[in-house]
């Protein structure tokens, strides 16, 4: 099991050091600093073995978190724990920074004592932790309160405390989809998949029993043939989900047997599920880049985006990010729509369009001046990326939720129906590019948005600079 946990700043100074096992000595702290933080080479692996001690590390901004062990621990668990640790710290004091860690080191030690016992992770749900680990020292709890805390921490619903009350019960669902698209330089789609997340914000009283539904093909087929016919008529009524994973509040055995998603949600924001689909993905945009090299110190770039959905729908907050070479000295941009700016600090041209209807086209052209360099290192040609919000989901996912609140405020089976939407992007032609999008339809109860990113190929090949 985890033998010790260290937090370092970017210089390698220890901010937090908590040792759980006798086999981890003080020298382990130095070993990691010397061999990993101060190593001249880029980190080649998140797991390092130094003199038979294994170090797992993750980095958050400038901060290194390292878990140390001499045993054959469950490596996946250690990383999951480190992420969880970051979540907990963020929930307590915000961004993980040297300043915040130093300011809260007593709290962090207290947390570490609670969520890791002898190297075994214990309940680490912030909802539960916040009931008894506070920054105000101990409140004099009554006996009832105490036993309520302990039963919650160890209970089956460790992520939610009893007795939550809201005057208005609200539930928000965001569907965030990220379309990953890979295209060949000839414009052929090599692979495309949507990885989506359903993020829920619940402000519900008591212990609400929730049910979540989606237009999952398997469920719809189960419900009878009638729906299946509809599917044929109106296109994408149901979608085939390749795989999904759920927050620990979801009853997995029930999902396995009935494919129904039922749960008692934690209070506040959490990620209910993640899913992945590969079939019938609607790509809301096509991006067509053209790059011409004019001599050794000049590049001409033209990017066309085409919206690829019904003209009645509207995409919003479109942002296209076109990476520029590191030796760029100046950029002149002309665009027909929206605003474009060269951001030297980000090495990119950022083009923003407020809204764009379906089946439209827009373009930007830029002249990039380059400084002559002798740098032999090639520019990695990062992909073009795109963010936007559209009122539909590229995967075709639609969601539905149902809440049954037990307890003080009965509001049985209130139904919230919401249309999920999402957007995606596409890349086309000579080379692959990528973009990402976020979409958000209005409405206060249901919101969906979609993000997308990536496709790794950037600038068209043959574009070389020295």
């Amino acid at each position: 099991m985890i033998g010790g946990l260290f937090i370092y700043n970017h210089k390698g100074e220890v901010l937090i050091s908590r040792v759980y096992r006798d086999d981890i000595g003080r020298n382990a702290v130095d070993a990691f600093r010397v061999n990993v933080i101060h190593a001249r080479q880029q980190v080649r692996s998140p797991v390092t073995n130094i003199a038979r001690t294994s170090f797992f590390h993750v980095k958050r901004s400038n901060i290194w978190l390292a878990a140390v062990t001499k045993q054959n621990v469950n490596a996946a668990m250690v990383f999951e724990f480190l992420y969880k640790m970051c979540d907990v710290m963020t929930a307590y004091f915000g961004k993980i920074s040297e300043e915040n860690i130093k300011n809260n080191f007593v709290l962090i030690y207290e947390l570490l004592d609670e969520i890791l016992d002898f190297g075994y992770p214990q309940n680490s749900e912030t909802g539960a932790l916040k009931t008894f680990i506070t920054q105000q020292g101990i409140k004099s709890q009554t006996k009832e309160e105490q036993s309520q805390i302990t039963s919650q921490v160890t209970g089956q619903i460790g992520w939610r405390r009893e007795g939550i009350k809201y005057r208005r019960n609200e539930l928000f669902l965001d569907v965030l989809e990220s379309v990953n698209l890979l295209m060949s330089p000839q414009g052929q789609v090599l692979s495309a998949h949507v990885s989506g997340r359903v993020v829920m914000k619940s402000y519900l009283s008591g212990m609400p029993e929730c049910k979540f539904g989606m237009n999952d093909k398997i469920v719809i087929e189960k419900q009878g043939k009638g729906t299946a016919d509809e599917t044929g008529k109106s296109g994408k009524q149901s979608i085939a989900i390749d795989d999904c994973t759920f927050h620990q509040c979801v009853r997995l055995s029930k999902f396995d047997s009935e494919r129904s998603i039922s749960f008692i949600p934690p209070d506040g924001e959490f990620e209910l599920m993640r899913y992945r689909t590969t079939k019938d993905i609607i790509l809301p945009f096509r991006v067509i880049p053209l790059v011409r090299e004019v001599g050794r110190t000049k590049l001409e770039v033209k990017v066309v985006i085409k919206s690829n959905f019904k003209p009645s729908l509207l995409a919003q907050k479109i942002e296209v990010r076109i990476p520029t070479p590191l030796n760029t000295s100046g950029v002149q941009v002309i665009c027909m729509k929206g605003k474009a700016k060269y951001k030297a600090s980000e090495n990119a041209i950022v083009w923003k369009i407020k809204r764009m209807a379906g089946m439209k086209e827009s373009q930007i052209s830029a002249e990039i001046e380059l400084l002559p360099t002798n740098d032999k290192k090639k520019w990695a040609r990062p992909p073009i990326s795109m963010n936007f919000e559209v009122p539909f989901a590229p995967s075709g996912l639609k969601v539905q939720s149902r809440v049954d609140v037990r307890g003080t405020h009965p509001m049985p089976w209130r139904e919230e129906d919401e249309k999920g939407t999402g957007a995606a992007d596409t890349v086309s032609s000579p080379s692959g590019w990528s973009e990402s999008c976020t979409e958000k339809p209005g409405g206060d109860i249901g919101r969906c948005h979609l993000g997308r990113q990536d496709d790794r190929r950037g600038w068209p090949g043959g574009h070389e600079h020295t």
Binding site: L15, I16, N35, A76, Y120, S191, D243
Partner: protein, 956 residues
């Protein structure tokens, strides 16, 4: 409030100031002071001097302050055991506190204080807490048992905590169950033999129920524990699988991987004809793919595991090639792992896509990644025959890019392609030759030279090319020198007329001017071959080479099976068994996949078929590879890191991160096939050549070396054994193929009171071996080397050396099974190798093993009858006197002889090195070749081995 100020004090007199503040009357001030102390502790300052003052702050109602003091205690109690005792009362009191949070805090902290005296006081509170009404206290107490066991295992057993812990598995609270399972698993791991985690269908059922209810971490503990269970039949295995599969949808990747582990393991027991088997296979793929959208560090763990899973069951992911395509923003460690898996999944069906991707990768920025991509193209060519041509043309395209490292890497893999498909692609040689000048890495140069030598007859200017290399012969690395030597000899044999001068030049360079014994020896061999029998030389040097096989980097099947049992853990990340990186007894237990019940597995997975079976004359004990690695790694590493031990190294992966380096070689595309490019395989393989020991230096250069050499070999032949107890003939303990060319055979002997291990080390590799060292694992009788392994000169290829290693019996003792099993590790400059062997027990019979007659009678009566064991020694034609004297030679002493009803009864005694007496009664009937042997001993488990010793002695 900002606590960061506590980090900034660096004044000199601060300890005194803190002392004053700690003793202040004001609560706030006290708390501030303790915070300062903790901050100093964190940054590594020694604040142990404040111990009494800090402990004084313990009696407080302020929980935050109390926790800080506890934290301090955990850190320093060990250094101040006497003072720590001051804290005991507070702990005991806190364990009775009405607030369960405080009770739990007290028991949790107390377990972390590793001071014997405190531990004694812990027992009573712990017992109460294990039965506490509050589950929070119980779950904390459960872990505390594991802590206590780590400090004092005996105490935990004596106090009966283990039984209480077992009861907690049936607790009503899932988290208590999970922690109890975790604690029990850990304790069981350090006692492999104990039946602590007595899993049976009922307890499994309880665990499966708790699985649905406990936290994500608890699920991991339970799944990891389930994976150790062995279902009694396939039906039980299936029903467990059915209840575990829902976990595959958990958001926590560790839960998913642990579930995969259980399924992969139990799947072994399911019949492949079963519908369920197919369903299960289908269910496994999506979650594995989903793991690839996790955070990069987890992706890395997942990919290392997928690498194993793909080797074990390629069918699971065979259609998922695309998900392993590298993304632009993947960290380098993810990219490299993905590449590896792409190659494992490459098949005729998807090769076009794979190649297109690899070609793309070869133009990326990261040098390591590009190199690996180029190598991958070569591996595709070797793996998928139909694609070889495309691969070659892709490689040629890449060579045209003239990017230096791409060209070199391409040449190395093209050489491998030639070795798989000889005489097929030599048209490309011209292109390769164009790039001769840009090659600056030894490996690429060696590969190029190999190609030139191999195809010398078709390259018009082969002699010029090789001659150009020869100019800087002494500046080349050994690898290149060896290759050049071989290539020129090949050239000479193919075109003898024009190249005589060249070959003479290289032979004299290699034999006269080189300090490298390896090179010299090879030079002499060629020289002698060429001068005595050119026809034979041709047969040897130009012999047809065996084709290289496609998968040289597959993990050895037994190791793979073991690693499958460790899915999700560090072992699966390192691709090494836990014993390779875990100290002490933990993890020594070997895990294996359950045998398949139901239908017999056909040759369904040829991909994973073992490439070579170990030789049959191995000892029957399964060599528990790696048990010793622990101890032996220390040989290499010295004490655990203190300060910056290897920071100066220029090859960070190799030197600093020993295991990491090892991993590299595991995943390196074709390390094996490259390592033997050094010489023509025919030479490496033929045992008839024995190189001259390097001491016969260049004095008789040029003269045929025949006569002098022969004599030298005799030295190594029979160093006769002096009279003493029976010595068995030497057997091969470590075959060369298992130890990178090092063969070890040996036996044990005992002469006048001293035990020795007689070894013959033979170097069957092509490279000089040196820096030998030997180490034994702990064993039943504490056998240990009494002196270091002395090999005076480096061991040249095909040389043998005979060594008698004196042993003593003062090493550390651990009971082995079988009792006389000895695990040995031998290290040389190449690697560390492990084998185990059985030693005959009679080497442990001491000279003063003769018991007084009276004593014998008394002892015989005194030992209870159930300790008596009887054996039959068959087919022995000796008479009583002969038996008696023969046994005496091996220190089995006859105390009395009686004749009862025509039978001879011999009463004998012997004593083992560890003081165990064994009494024997041997009944011999004159006409019957079968003797009856009755053995009485207070440690009856040795009897079996004593009997074996009798058999051995009498029959030889």
């Amino acid at each position: 409030m900002t606590d960061s100020k506590y980090f900034t004090t660096t004044k000199k007199g601060e300890i005194f100031e803190l002392k004053a503040e700690l003793n202040s009357d004001k609560k706030e001030k006290k708390k501030e002071a303790v915070k300062k102390v903790i901050a100093s502790m964190t940054v590594g300052k020694d604040v142990s001097a404040l111990f009494p003052d800090v402990v004084n702050c313990m009696q407080t109602d302020n929980l935050e302050l109390k926790k800080l003091v506890y934290l301090y205690l955990m850190n320093y109690a060990k250094s101040q055991p006497d003072m720590a005792i001051m804290a005991v009362n507070t702990f005991v009191k806190d364990c009775e506190d009405p607030n369960p949070l405080i009770r739990a805090l007290a028991v949790r902290t107390m377990g972390c204080i590793r001071v014997d005296k405190i531990t004694e006081y812990l027992c009573e509170p712990l017992r109460k807490c294990l039965k506490d009404e509050d589950p929070y206290v119980r779950k904390t107490a459960a872990v505390c048992v594991a802590k206590l066991h780590d400090i004092n295992a005996q105490l935990v057993e004596d106090q009966g905590f283990l039984d209480t812990l077992k009861d907690l598995i049936s607790d009503s609270n899932p988290m208590v169950v999970a922690n109890a399972v975790a604690a029990l698993s850990e304790i069981a791991e350090s006692h492999p033999s104990s039946n602590l985690l007595d899993l049976n269908p009922q307890s499994i059922n309880k665990l499966l129920t708790a699985l649905n209810e406990c936290t994500e971490w608890g699920q991991i503990f339970i799944l990891d524990c389930l994976a150790n269970y062995m279902p009694k039949d396939d039906r039980e295995a299936q029903s467990i699988c059915e209840r575990v599969t829902p976990r595959l949808s958990h958001a926590n990747s560790a839960v998913v991987l642990s579930a995969v582990k259980v399924l992969m393991k139990f799947m072994e027991m399911l019949s492949k004809d079963l519908d369920y088997y197919g369903t299960l296979l289908k269910k496994l793929a999506p979650p594995l793919v989903t793991l690839l959208s996790a955070e990069p560090e987890l992706q890395y763990v997942a990919l290392r595991n997928i690498n194993l899973i793909v080797q074990k069951r390629p069918e699971i992911l065979k259609h998922e090639m695309k998900v392993f395509f590298v993304k632009y923003n993947d960290p380098i460690y993810v990219k490299l792992e993905k590449l590896d898996i792409m190659i494992r999944l490459a098949s005729q069906a998807n090769i076009a896509q794979v190649l297109a991707e690899l070609k793309e990768y070869a133009t990326e920025v990261d040098v390591d990644f590009v190199r690996k991509a180029v190598r991958a193209i070569g591996r595709c060519a070797i793996k998928v025959e139909q694609s070889a041509e495309r691969c070659v043309s892709t490689l040629l395209d890449l060579i045209q890019t003239k990017v230096n490292y791409v060209v070199q890497e391409a040449i190395v893999v093209i050489k491998d392609i030639f070795r798989k498909y000889p005489n097929k692609y030599e048209s490309v040689i011209a292109t390769l030759c164009e790039n001769l000048d840009s090659l600056d890495e030894p490996e690429a140069r060696a590969a190029m030279i190999w190609i030139v030598g191999e195809y010398a007859e078709r390259i018009d200017n082969a002699d010029e090319l090789l001659e150009s290399f020869l100019e800087g012969f002494h500046d080349e690395s050994t690898q290149v020198q060896l290759q050049l030597l071989t290539a020129i000899v090949k050239l000479f044999l193919k075109k003898p007329t024009e190249t005589q001068e060249l070959v003479q030049q290289v032979l004299s360079l290699a034999t006269q001017d080189s300090d490298n014994p390896d090179l010299r020896d090879r030079g002499y061999i060629y020289w002698r071959l060429l001068s005595t029998d050119p026809v034979a030389a041709k047969e040897v040097v130009l012999a047809e080479k065996p084709l290289i096989s496609e998968e040289t980097d597959l993990i050895e099947p037994t190791l793979l099976d073991e690693l499958i049992c460790y899915i999700g853990t560090l072992a699966s990340v390192y691709h090494k068994p836990p014993s390779a990186f875990v100290e002490g007894s933990r993890g020594v237990l070997h895990k294996g996949l359950p045998p398949r019940t139901g239908s017999i597995e056909g040759p369904e997975s040829p991909d994973t078929a073992p490439s070579g079976e170990p030789a049959a004359d191995q000892p029957s004990v399964i060599p528990t590879q790696g048990d010793l690695l622990g101890d032996l790694l220390n040989l290499d590493l010295g004490p655990p890191v203190t300060g910056p031990p290897m920071a100066t190294s220029t090859v960070p992966m190799g030197a600093v991160d020993l295991l990491g380096g090892g991993l590299d070689s595991l995943v390196r595309p074709s390390s094996r096939l490259r390592s033997d490019v050094g010489g023509s395989p025919a030479i490496g393989g033929s045992g008839s050549f024995t190189a001259a020991p390097s001491s016969t230096a260049p004095t008789n250069v040029g003269a045929p070396l025949g006569s002098g050499l022969g004599d030298l070999f005799d030295l190594t032949a029979g160093v006769g054994t002096l009279s003493g107890s029976y010595v068995a003939p030497k057997t091969v303990w470590l075959p060369a193929m298992k130890a990178k060319g090092l063969e070890i055979s040996g036996t044990f002997s005992r002469q006048v009171g001293s035990i020795s291990m007689d070894l013959v080390l033979t170097n069957k590799a092509l490279q000089v071996m040196s820096d030998f060292a030997i180490q034994f694992n702990r064993n039943s009788f504490g056998l240990a080397p009494a002196a270091p392994l002395q090999v005076h000169a480096p061991l040249a290829p095909n040389q043998s050396v005979e060594i008698s290693l004196p042993l003593n019996t003062v090493g550390s003792v651990m009971k082995m099974d079988p009792l006389n099993n000895l695990q040995v590790a031998v290290k040389n400059n190449i690697d560390v190798f492990y084998f185990s062997t059985l030693y005959p027990l009679h080497i442990l019979f001491v000279e003063d093993g003769k018991m007084e007659r009276q004593m014998f009678l008394a002892t015989w009566k005194d030992i209870p009858n159930e300790n008596e064991t009887q054996f039959q020694i068959k087919d022995c034609s000796l008479n009583a006197d002969a038996v008696s004297s023969k046994l005496q030679g091996s220190n089995i002493f006859t105390i009395a002889k009686r004749n009862v009803e025509g039978q001879d009864m011999l009463y004998q005694s012997l004593k083992l090195t560890n003081g165990i007496w064994v009494l024997a009664e041997l009944r011999i009937q004159p006409s019957n070749p079968s003797f009856m042997l009755s053995l009485k001993c207070r440690a009856p488990e040795v009897s079996q081995y004593i009997y074996q010793a009798y058999e051995t002695i009498l029959k030889n």
